[in-house]
């Protein structure tokens, strides 16, 4: 399948927004060019701040710039701008409520050959734990472009999660809505919820399930915070079973957010699919994804088993 590189889509989108909005500044921790921000650097060298490999100080710097009305965009390999600098993210941006956009690229397992130091399987959990941080997890490059414009327009801290490689186009351009999920297919037997680039894989899995006669309501959530509560609860009430799929640990991300919501508002059987909660062996991306059971075939097989194993629940909701 042909696709586009999320980093290039992101960098070009920031560059476009910066042409319209003079407050936008990019901060590079030796990471700007590999984040697609070369165009921004060339046209606006005064608004492209290189600080070298220092994510902690870069995060504080972003907060300080934001106190004076700048809109800093700090993009680097995901673990280094979420885990490495977590206290600065929490205090300087979250607690100080500064208008800073933290962008984690090569999130999930997209740096699979580089091993667990470069895997980012807890970034959504970390960002989601900080009060007031909006968390955007786009599925395709069009959604990244929309999300960049939306996060700059949104006054407040944002975490934007990007993968890498080649991502197929899934959605119509301009269709992203803040805090709103999408319904990609309708069905009455099972709700499958996905977020991020793995959604392309999940679409194939859902097709396979439908062919097996299992009616699947497929929801794709573009944001984990704010989460589209009504969309999820309505589907869970109807289908009585929910599966979540994400390229993230099975703790604290999409599955965690959905579990917290459904436990309160619509307790139904839930299966959380994602990377198992251990340090994942390095290897070619496809092999690692299959190893985690996150390829379309594995997702469909596990979801079908889950449907079989769960008796219909009729007393809740």
């Amino acid at each position: 399948m042909t696709g586009r590189d999320p980093r290039k889509a992101f960098g070009a989108a920031v560059h476009r927004v910066a042409q319209e909005n003079g407050d936008v500044v990019a901060i590079s921790v030796d990471s700007g060019l590999s984040s697609g921000l070369g165009g921004m650097r060339d046209e606006f060298p005064d608004r492209y701040i290189e600080v070298g490999i220092m994510e902690q100080a870069a995060t504080g710097l972003a907060a300080g710039l934001a106190t004076a009305g700048r809109i800093p965009v700090l993009c680097a390999i995901a673990p280094f701008v979420t885990a490495r600098n977590f206290e600065m993210f929490r205090n300087d941006i979250g607690y100080m409520r500064q208008n800073v956009k933290i962008v984690g690229r090569n999130a999930g397992l997209s740096y699979s050959p580089l091993g667990p130091t470069h895997h980012s399987l807890e970034d959504c959990a970390l960002a989601r734990l900080i009060p007031g941080i909006a968390v955007i997890t786009p599925a395709d490059c069009g959604e990244i472009e929309d999300a960049v414009a939306a996060m700059i327009a949104h006054e407040g801290p944002v975490y934007l999660r990007l993968g890498a490689g080649s991502v197929p186009d899934l959605y119509e351009a301009g269709s992203f809505r803040w805090g709103r999920g999408r319904t990609l297919s309708r069905g009455e037997d099972l709700t499958v919820i996905s977020s991020g680039h793995i959604t392309a894989e999940v679409i194939d899995a859902v097709d396979a399930l439908q062919k097996r006669g299992i009616g699947v309501e497929h929801l794709a959530l573009s944001m984990l915070e704010p989460l589209d509560h009504d969309l999820v609860v309505e589907a869970a009430r109807r289908t009585r079973r929910v599966v979540t799929v994400e390229e993230h640990y099975v703790r604290g991300g999409l599955g965690g957010a959905v579990a917290e919501l459904l436990a309160e508002r619509c307790p139904v059987p839930l299966q959380v699919m994602g990377a198992p909660h251990r340090f994942i062996s390095s290897g070619p991306y496809r092999d690692v994804i299959v190893g985690c059971g996150l390829d379309a075939q594995s997702i469909a097989d596990r979801a079908a088993e889950f449907v079989q194993a769960t008796a219909p629940v009729t007393t809740y909701g």
């Binding site: 902690q56 504080g60 710097l61 907060a63 106190t67």
Partner: protein
């Protein structure tokens, strides 16, 4: 040499102000029962001088875009800033009596969204200089320009994030940034140099590309002289290495580790008030004379 001339009369005025600020700190301890007095007292002469003579600020308009920024990286010294902000009418003095209460605008570490005049939410050490660098960098491309001052402790220098920020500020030639390092030599577990030796601090800062001045942090003439020179520096950030005494201002606490977080008895607090009130009387006599 750029100096701010301090006449004897002005010096007495600053000493009176700093003593009144120390008294405000006691007032907050009276309300809350305990607090980080030692570090507040080691830096309070500097903080008083900043607000009285150095910073461009307007208590009636604390959000003025062109104001100079002053933030604590050592956020636990918030008592010093609260005390001085009260002296300069950023808030009514009665608010000092809410220290320690649930929902107070004077939390144990400062919150910019609660109290006008506070520029950053510090308290976790090693955060302030990077934030200050961002403020300084923004000033270079703003219509209204300002200078940024950040105050650190010496124990705090063990946090590596400071050194990232020091390198960054020098690399980007933030001449409009001043870091004041309050070297009182003591931290919660004892002597700073025995816990993690960071000396020679001045040489390290020079090696990192900063312009460095070393002063006695309780001598108002030296404080104003150093900060006056920092104000006109343009090519490199300035570090003012201020040698101070933890708990300075109260005889029984000065130079003691125990002053770091003080929980006084009623008697001890009463004696401390008397000691500062006597100093105020004596400074008042010097002023008249």
């Amino acid at each position: 040499m750029n100096t701010i001339d301090v006449s004897t009369a002005e010096d007495i005025e600053l000493r009176i102000l700093a003593t009144r600020a120390r008294r405000n700190v006691l007032r907050m301890l009276d309300a809350g029962g305990s607090g980080h007095l030692g570090g507040a007292y080691s830096c309070i002469d500097i903080v008083t001088a900043l607000y009285a003579r150095v910073l461009r600020h307007d208590p009636a308009n604390p959000g003025w875009a062109g104001r100079d920024r002053f933030l604590l990286s050592a956020g636990h010294k918030a008592l010093a800033q609260y005390a001085v902000l009260a002296l300069f009418d950023y808030f009514p003095a009665e608010v000092l009596d809410t220290y320690g209460a649930f929902g107070t605008v004077l939390p144990g570490h400062p919150d910019m969204k609660k109290l006008p005049g506070v520029e950053a939410n510090t308290g976790a050490l090693g955060h302030g200089t990077a934030i200050a660098a961002g403020m300084a960098m923004a000033a270079r491309t703003s219509v209204e320009s300002w200078r940024t001052f950040v105050l650190l402790g010496d124990g705090e220098l063990a946090e590596g994030s400071n050194w990232e920020a020091f390198a960054m500020a020098a690399h980007h030639r933030l001449g409009n940034l001043t870091a004041i390092i309050d070297v009182n030599g003591l931290q919660i577990s004892g002597e700073a140099e025995r816990i993690m030796g960071m000396e020679p601090i001045a040489e390290k800062m020079r090696a990192f590309g900063w312009t460095v001045q070393e002063i006695d942090g309780h001598d108002h003439r030296q404080i104003l002289d150093a900060l006056g020179r920092a104000r006109v520096e343009t090519s490199a950030p300035t570090a003012v290495v201020a040698h101070t005494v933890k708990g300075e201002g109260l005889g029984r606490l000065a130079g003691t580790v125990g002053s770091h977080y003080w929980t006084p008895s009623r008697e001890e607090l009463g004696e401390a008030f008397i000691e500062l009130d006597r100093r105020l009387v004596s400074l008042g006599r010097e002023r008249v004379a």
